[in-house]
Amino acid sequence: MASRRYLKGVSIMDFKQWEGATTLPVSITVTKELVDAYYETTGFLNNHSHHVPPALPMIFYQYLNVPWIHEQSFIHKDQKFHYEHPISIGDTLQCTVFLKSVKKRRQFLVLDQELIGKNEHQNIVFSAKSTLLKEAE
């Protein structure tokens, strides 16, 4: 996940205190420039006009202040996107991240969290559920 510095030796209690927490909402507009730059990373051209790639919302994390992943490094284990409606270029979404659970499994911390995007009517447009791993002390 996004950060500038990566700390070592973090215990499960550092994360447990955030279990059940939700970040403040951030309004994010999906611009053509953002979508084109995202497409370009994969070496493909955007031939689908207003279509937004299905895994793109994960880059919204860089605009959100998620205190429990601040300055931490994680490995992705599972990821699931669910769309109530397709996202189009020009859409503005109110995004939050919810830390659903923090567990210890063998030598790993396992975080289950969900990024949610809502439209102006406060209806959920998409959710992005992530299972993240980090070596525990």
Binding site: R4, T41, T42, G43, F44, P54, M58, I75, K80
Partner: protein
């Protein structure tokens, strides 16, 4: 390809993508994810990987291109799920294969396998496509 001609068991045209250091750097810039395990061999080795690895979410971004032909047919992604089984090393060429698992009147499920020269399965995935009206 026409939606009417798609049937369960159909295989999609596989993709072979070399994931270069330049691509990983660009993905880091676009995503804001600068975890050193993606950019520095020593940091990756400290975490138990043989060398620097690509972002899991980058492999998900790349793999989704296998369903591009269906997007041109009017399908849109309803759900996209991936389980990451092994790392992809920066510089490796990944192979993405897809099979139509089920098809109904307005939806279709595609199973995807991602492999690399190092691992026969680095990720497995399922995409549910839907035609919105």
């Amino acid at each position: 390809m026409h939606a009417g001609s798609i049937k369960s068991g159909d295989t999609l045209e596989p993709l072979h993508i070399e994931v270069t250091e330049e691509m990983v750097t660009k993905y880091g810039e676009v995503s804001g994810d600068f975890n050193p395990i993606h950019f520095d061999d020593r940091s990756a080795r400290e975490k138990g990987f043989p060398s620097k690895i690509i972002h899991g979410m980058f492999s998900m971004a790349i793999a989704s291109h296998i369903i591009d032909p269906y997007l041109q047919e009017g399908y849109r992604v309803k759900t996209y799920e991936m389980k990451f089984k092994a790392p992809v090393l920066v510089g490796e060429t990944i192979r993405i294969e897809g099979t139509v698992k089920a098809i109904e009147k307005e939806s279709m499920t595609v199973e995807i396998n991602v492999s690399s020269p190092t691992y026969p399965q680095v990720a497995k995935s399922e995409i549910l496509l839907h035609v919105y009206k």
